[in-house]
Amino acid sequence: MTVPAAEATPVMVPMLNPNEPEAVVVEHTAAEGQLVSVGDVLCVLETSKSTEELAAEAEGFVIGWRAAPGELVNAGDLLCYLATSPDWAAPPVPESSPGSDVLPEGLRISQPALALARDRGLDMNRLPIGPMVTVSMVQSALGEPAAVSGDATDREAGDDPTALLLYGGGGHGKTLIELVRRGAAHHLVGVVDSGLEPGDMVLGVPVVGGDEALAAVRDRGVVLAVNGVGGIARVGDRVAAFDRLSAAGFRCPAVVHESAVVEPSVQLPSGCQVLAHAYVGSDSRIGFGSIVNTGVVVSHDCVLEEYVNLSPGALLAGGVRVGAMTLVGMGVTVNLGVSIGRKARVGNSAVVKADVPDGQVVAAGSVWPAPNRR
């Protein structure tokens, strides 16, 4: 019985070393279309332990090199074909993605979002470049109401995505009440504050109880909260409030006063608050739970870590870094590129011209660093 000669024999990467499937293609010693005999060297492969010449095991024309010199390949990968005729056409390299349309350059999009966009025939050029595009963003672009706002995971049927609980009914809490009322995104359902009587009102919002009331509020389908604890005296109080809210199953959305200006390139995470007439400049990043108080200026390229508190009127030049849990006082000015460490306290009206270490207290009205006395 004769077996008809195959039109082409595939050449695969061999396992050159036991336990090491990877190799790098050093060079092609046989060119595309070249006729080789059995034993002729096709290419050179290198592993971490040795360099090997790969010899042809059949006679034929070298067609369809797959891996270029410099590329990493694995044992079993296809290198090329040895064909009986120089005109034999190698099968096309399979496309890695089945989609036929080309995506805009730089677009980062999740697979479910891409599937939805294709399904609805959305023009991809309407999607933003830079942020990671998710299903909810595609729905916005399509003009459909988002099924859920934000994190879909904690959501249960009956959760109200616009109801907001205020934790802490003091001065900062009142500021937040009026901020929320100006916006259209949320409405306040109550205040939790262990220091107030249930039934009392804070600017027209009823007090529902202390910490013990959190579970009941959550059970009613309220999933969002805003932290009214300023924590000026002790930042730990503010952090503890976030912890208590989180442990009770609440999420804290970012809240921004309608008069504040936050550039589109800024990343605002959960838990942060940007108050009236504040400015947050291009490419700045704010950490979880931070407060950018009234009239604060955060210039471009600043980085605030978690739980930072910038008091009213503080002025940060470009590229300033503020470490976690640091308090910057009212009217403080911080020079370009200065880095303030964690858990520092910068007093009102201080002038900060150089880096401030972790835990440092900078006296109010002083210049940092203190000028040398001669």
Binding site: R108, Q111, A113, M132, T153, S246, A248, V303
Partner: protein, 341 residues
């Protein structure tokens, strides 16, 4: 792109050049062979007399190195396979790590023992383990593990030159060939998908890293992993985001013991879901400590899971071994289950 292996080699070179008290010792580490995994390649040629080849006796090598450290050298010992650290356990645990306390603090043992752990090479049950869990929590012994982040060579150099106590430096065979990812804001050709924040070294704790999906949604899940597992966890973070819109953030410590609980706590206090990935066996390992500390520190509701090697003897056959060790799919599955609760 620099590989972890190149960075470590460079770190050793830096140590030998910086301090004449540094000596590198181990089996088969002389040129031209340059060590079983080539981490010491080129060093014996460049620093003659400072790179010593030893007999095949791990306990002997570490014992001698401990004595040398007591007498003012700064030895760096290579143990060829991490599985052999069992042979040096008495020297490390009952001698090197205790002398400073037993004999008064004028006595110092600035010894570094470095060794590759890990499987996926089909080397079998006694050459593929991840055994550093046996040395965690030993008072007086620091355990440090590089990842493909930051500067592994600098991490090693710091252990050799700056630390006056014994350090077990845990490398990984597969990690050696991984390319370093750029870290830190503004790094040249920074990863377009993952943002890396560095938490700088503090007294007693080497640096740690936090990776988040760039411009993605708020993280809903915290992952913790070190060494080669950080590479798999990193791939899982990307796939979870792109395939399932589950956004996780990955904390990668380089210090294993003592355990710095702050980076994990900072993340898990927001997400309240903690997934720990390790290549060691699951029971009573690193992950157990990470979860225990997180529960102690954070209180309240915290869901946690560990992805680790199954508690069985590692098979030699590659497919059988692969079924036992963590992989990206298994990490993703665990993350989905944790997320969905």
């Amino acid at each position: 792109m620099t590989k972890v292996l190149d960075s470590l080699n460079s770190g050793l070179r830096q140590c030998l050049a910086a301090d004449e008290r540094v000596v590198v010792m181990g089996e088969d580490i002389l040129d031209p062979y340059g060590g079983a995994f080539k981490v010491t390649k080129g060093l014996s040629t460049e620093f003659p007399g400072r790179v010593l080849t030893t007999p095949v006796s791990e306990a002997g090598i570490v014992g001698v190195a401990t004595g040398m450290a007591l007498r003012g050298f700064r030895p760096v010992v290579e143990i060829m396979f991490g599985d052999f650290t069992t042979l040096v356990a008495d020297q490390l645990v009952n001698h090197a790590s205790k002398f400073a306390a037993m004999y008064g603090h004028d006595v110092k043992v600035p010894l570094v023992v470095r060794t590759p752990m890990g499987g996926r090479r089909g080397y079998g049950p006694t050459h593929s383990q991840t055994l550093e869990k046996l040395f965690l929590g030993i008072p007086g012994l620091r355990v440090v593990a590089p990842a493909a982040l930051g500067d592994p060579g600098a991490l090693l150099a710091s252990a050799v030159l700056d630390d006056d106590g014994p350090v077990l430096f845990v490398e990984n065979k597969v990690l050696y060939n991984c390319e370093l990812h750029p870290s830190g804001p503004g790094a040249p050709d920074a990863d377009e998908d993952l943002e890396c924040t560095i938490r700088a070294a503090t007294a007693g704790h080497p640096p740690s890293y936090r990776l988040t999906v760039r411009h993605g949604e708020e993280a809903a899940l915290t992952m913790a992993a070190y060494g080669y597992m950080a590479e798999l966890a990193r791939q899982a973070v990307l796939r979870l985001a792109y395939e399932l819109e589950i956004f996780a953030e990955l904390v990668v410590p380089t210090g294993l013991s003592p355990h710095d609980a702050i980076p994990v706590a900072d993340s898990a206090r927001r997400t309240r879901k903690l997934l720990v990935v390790e290549e060691g066996t699951r029971s009573l390992g690193w992950g157990a400590e990470v979860v225990a500390r997180a529960v102690e520190d954070l209180g309240g509701a915290l869901s946690a899971r560990r992805v680790a090697a199954d508690d069985i003897v590692l098979p030699a056959a590659a497919p059988a071994e692969a079924a036992v060790l963590p992989d990206v799919d298994r990490i993703m599955k665990a993350a989905q289950e944790l997320h969905g609760r």
